[in-house]
Symmetry: C2
Subunit: 141 residues, 2 copies
């Protein structure tokens, strides 16, 4: 599978995991192997992502046997942007929007403004959308 998406698998997995944890009843937690299996993520990869989320204080964990992880942040305040950002989200529609980029074009380039604008629109939406509106719950069959 070609990997040229706007968000990476890792970022997608982070959203899934956060949304799953947010749907757990209050006080409950789940261990990473089980969580990974439910969301079709490899255990080790899931573990590394959870670690990043913990460092960002989005999740927290209980160590030791019978330990597990749970959501620490308030899902009603936690935005998609917050989660993606934790996993190294760098929205750049075009290289010319990066700080270190030096555009050599002497003439006015209107493309630049277009990308700046579109990027801002998307970022604002990602900041507006909260995890509480994206809960992942298993269906009861």
């Amino acid at each position: 599978m070609k990997r040229n998406s706007f968000i990476s698998r890792e970022q997608d997995y982070a959203l899934r995991m956060t949304a799953y944890l947010a749907a757990l009843p209050k006080g409950e937690f789940i261990n990473v192997p089980t969580l990974a299996q439910r969301l079709f993520i490899s255990q080790k990869f899931a573990s590394r992502i959870i670690h990043k989320l913990k460092k960002a204080k989005i999740t927290d964990s209980i160590q030791g046997k019978y330990g597990g992880v749970f959501l620490k942040a308030d899902p009603k305040k936690l935005s998609l942007y917050d989660v993606l950002n934790t996993i190294g989200f760098k929205v750049k529609f075009n290289d010319c929007l990066k700080k270190e980029f030096k555009c050599e074009l002497k003439f006015g380039c209107k493309f630049h403004a277009f990308w700046v604008n579109e990027e801002e629109i998307l970022i604002n939406k990602l900041k507006k959308e909260k995890i509480s509106d994206y809960l992942l719950k298993e269906k009861h069959n």
Copy 2:
């Protein structure tokens, strides 16, 4: 420089070249080495991009010594999307929007709908914006 932008350098260069050619007076053309130099693109890379644009009938060329290239399409009808598409633009906000992707999640995943929606919004804008509104003209000093 890290290369994790939404559009690639090659796609960016294609837009630049198209916008430059669109600004040429009617009937004029320019050779690729000169065009590449004006837009800070390597000659060979520019040549390959121009070739793709020609195959898509966006540009045309005059061969032989003193030959050159020019815009064939109507810049008022030529969209940013048309140009990007020629250079292999595959907008996919997330892998799960790809045809060949099979989402394993059994429960309703609202993230999917979010990406579908945002992607559609951006594509529609790229289709709406025409090259004629993005002309690249050198400033006269």
